[in-house]
């Protein structure tokens, strides 16, 4: 019996799904921009209070190359921060999953990483590590590491009891269980953590630039924001904000794509295309 939900041509089904899911956010975006423009006009707001979308667009096109370089500079720092979060966070999570005493004694301090006010720590970091890329990456890592630790630890520990029994039945050693069971099972959890951490890494890199300055010869988005704010160039500031949002979205998409390609096996999504009862 034919499945009436499926189109004859598999690829057109895919294309339709894409359009249908992309349309609502686009409509909402247009609505928000329209509302913004109306607000500025109706309340007669001065640009120094709230610039109009048109003014922000103008500022963005004016400073296009500066903004792009800024996105690359901040993106590089954020990318390094995310990678080190994943590495450090995963290693800590593995240690926490294997050694109960370690988990019970140190995990509460990991929570400190979630709540630490960067404003207090950044000056100390600068004294220790200098005004350079490394310090910005450290700040980005500190801000983005906690979701990785929390999610991966949970993923390593929350294993179906049957799987644990299966491994026991076949005489698996602790390390075999870790490598062949726990770590693969934790990968989807890692990706969930990465989705959250990717945005935090971008924010962390920008905050790092507020304190540390530029890591490279280019002005990062954080530096551009502080400059333009001091100069009361509010439209340019908004353009930088939009750029940083786009950067965050790009990171999020990269993580999403990783889940659908490289880590497809482990993300266990129901695969409608090839289901064959």
């Amino acid at each position: 019996m034919r499945d009436l939900r499926r189109a004859d041509n598999g690829s057109s089904l895919f294309a339709n799904r894409w359009i249908v899911s992309a349309l609502p956010p686009i409509l909402v975006f247009l609505l928000m921009v329209g509302l913004w423009q109306w607000t500025v006009e109706f309340w007669k707001l001065k640009p120094i209070v709230l610039p109009s979308p048109a003014a922000v667009w103008k500022a963005a096109t004016e400073k296009e190359s500066v903004l792009i370089k800024g996105m690359l500079a901040t993106g590089a720092a954020a990318g390094l921060g995310l990678v080190s979060s994943v590495v450090i966070g995963s290693i800590l999570a593995i240690l926490f999953s294997q050694f109960r005493w370690l988990r019970l004694s140190i995990y509460p301090y990991v929570i400190f990483l979630q709540t630490v006010p960067i404003v207090a720590i950044a000056p100390l970091l600068i004294i220790w590590s200098g005004n350079n890329l490394r310090t910005i990456v450290i700040i980005a890592t500190i801000i983005s590491v906690f979701p990785i630790i929390a999610n991966v630890t949970a993923g390593l520990l929350a294993i179906d009891r049957n799987w644990i029994d299966l491994f026991r039945m076949h005489g698996a050693s602790r390390w075999q269980s870790l490598a062949k069971l726990r770590i693969p099972a934790a990968i989807p959890h890692l990706l969930v953590g990465m989705r959250i951490s990717s945005g935090l890494a971008v924010i962390g890199a920008i905050i790092g630039e507020f304190f540390v300055g530029n890591a490279t010869s280019y002005d990062g988005l954080g530096s551009l924001m502080t400059q333009w704010q001091s100069q009361q160039r509010t439209a340019h500031l908004f353009a930088a904000l939009v750029a940083s949002t786009l950067l965050g979205i790009a990171f999020f998409l990269i993580v999403h794509l990783l889940g659908r390609t490289v880590f497809r096996r482990w993300t266990m999504a129901v695969d409608l295309e090839s289901y064959d009862p």
Partner: protein, 342 residues
């Protein structure tokens, strides 16, 4: 019961309407005439410090009150920006340096300066005394903590005074790094940070930007053009009272400083006392008499405007020096002063 419901609904709708209309700015043509003794707010451009002393003195010694003004001074600080506060009508007056005024006007704000208590700018670069740096020409091989958005950075660059060996990093409000070791210089206000450094045991030298030609008026009383147009009497009283407040502050600051201490817990009595001493030569340079303080000249505004235009920080087409300041009120206030003196 029905009647009760209607009353409640009515009150609810009324509250909603009031809430909505509260967002409207004072600059709309339909706003009502301000009541006889309105609450006037002055928003500061930073946390309460010695540089705001004159205005606090006018409050503390009842000078504003005696002129019929009910004044509240709202502290500024990180994240508080003066121009939007004035544009939205949340404050009627503000404090700003001359370069702030020019940049706000370039961003379509209608800010205008009314008086300039600090005739010379306190902006300086602070270096350790034990460093090799004695003047701007020898500013080399340091890490300079400075707010790169501020105009004096491109100014220094334009005068070729920022050697490539100077690493420019953000300044986030503490003298910790300069105190911690050599190789660090930072932006400062001459009446503030040097004391902080010395209290921590490090002797410092201040390189004044005013000496190399960047000298905006500092700590000016500002308001929007629209407000000035609509409330000339209030503005007159405000300017007169503020001048008197500054004169009082420079003479006997103790009571005012005690009050400022309460407004800003991070301040110390020592720092405020030091501040007043350092402020005097800035407020009354070159033997300027106290009863002639606060004045502004067109040529200085013009110079500053031209400097900022050449540094590409403001739009020359939008900023005209004459419109950046309005010393009508100050002149009248000072005239009354001189006629009052025997």
């Amino acid at each position: 019961m029905k009647r009760y419901h209607r009353i409640l609904t009515g009150i609810g709708l009324l509250a909603l309407l009031i809430g909505c209309s509260a967002q409207k700015t004072d600059s709309s043509p339909t706003s009502k005439e301000a009541p006889a003794n309105p609450k006037i707010k002055i928003v500061l451009n930073w946390y309460p410090e010695a540089e705001h002393g004159g205005f606090y003195a006018a409050l503390v010694h009842g000078i504003y009150k005696s002129h019929g003004l009910d004044v509240e001074i709202v502290p500024g600080g990180k994240g508080v920006s003066v121009p939007p506060e004035l544009e939205l009508g949340r404050a009627q007056f503000g404090i700003g340096n001359a370069d702030d005024v020019l940049m706000a006007r370039s961003a379509d704000s209608s800010m205008v300066a009314l008086m300039a208590p600090l005739q010379n700018g306190p902006r300086c670069i602070m270096v350790r005394e034990d460093s090799q740096i004695t003047n701007f020409q020898t500013l080399k091989n340091v890490k300079l903590q400075i707010d790169s958005g501020r105009p004096y950075v491109p100014f220094l660059k334009s005068k070729s005074l920022l050697d490539p060996s100077v690493q420019i990093v953000p300044y986030y409000g503490t003298v910790a790094e300069l105190v911690a070791g050599p190789g660090v210089a930072q932006q400062a206000y001459s009446f503030s940070e040097p004391l902080l450094a010395e209290q921590q045991g490090v002797k410092v030298r201040s390189l004044m930007l005013s000496e190399i030609g960047y000298n905006p008026y500092a700590c000016c009383l500002v308001a929007t053009e629209e407000y000035v147009q609509k409330n000339p009497e209030v503005v007159q009283k405000m300017v007169k009272a503020s001048v008197e407040g500054w004169q009082r502050y420079l003479e006997s600051p103790q009571e005012t400083n005690a009050y400022i201490l309460k407004q800003n817990e991070k301040m110390t009595a020592e720092a405020l006392a030091y501040g007043v001493e350092k402020l005097k030569p800035l407020c009354l340079p070159d033997g300027l008499a106290a009863d002639r303080m606060g004045q502004m000249t067109l040529s200085r505004w013009q110079t500053l405007r031209d400097q900022l235009v050449s540094l590409e920080l403001i739009d020359g087409a939008k900023v005209v020096a004459e419109r950046c300041f309005n010393d009508r009120f100050l002149q009248r206030a000072l005239e009354v002063e001189t006629t009052a003196k025997p």
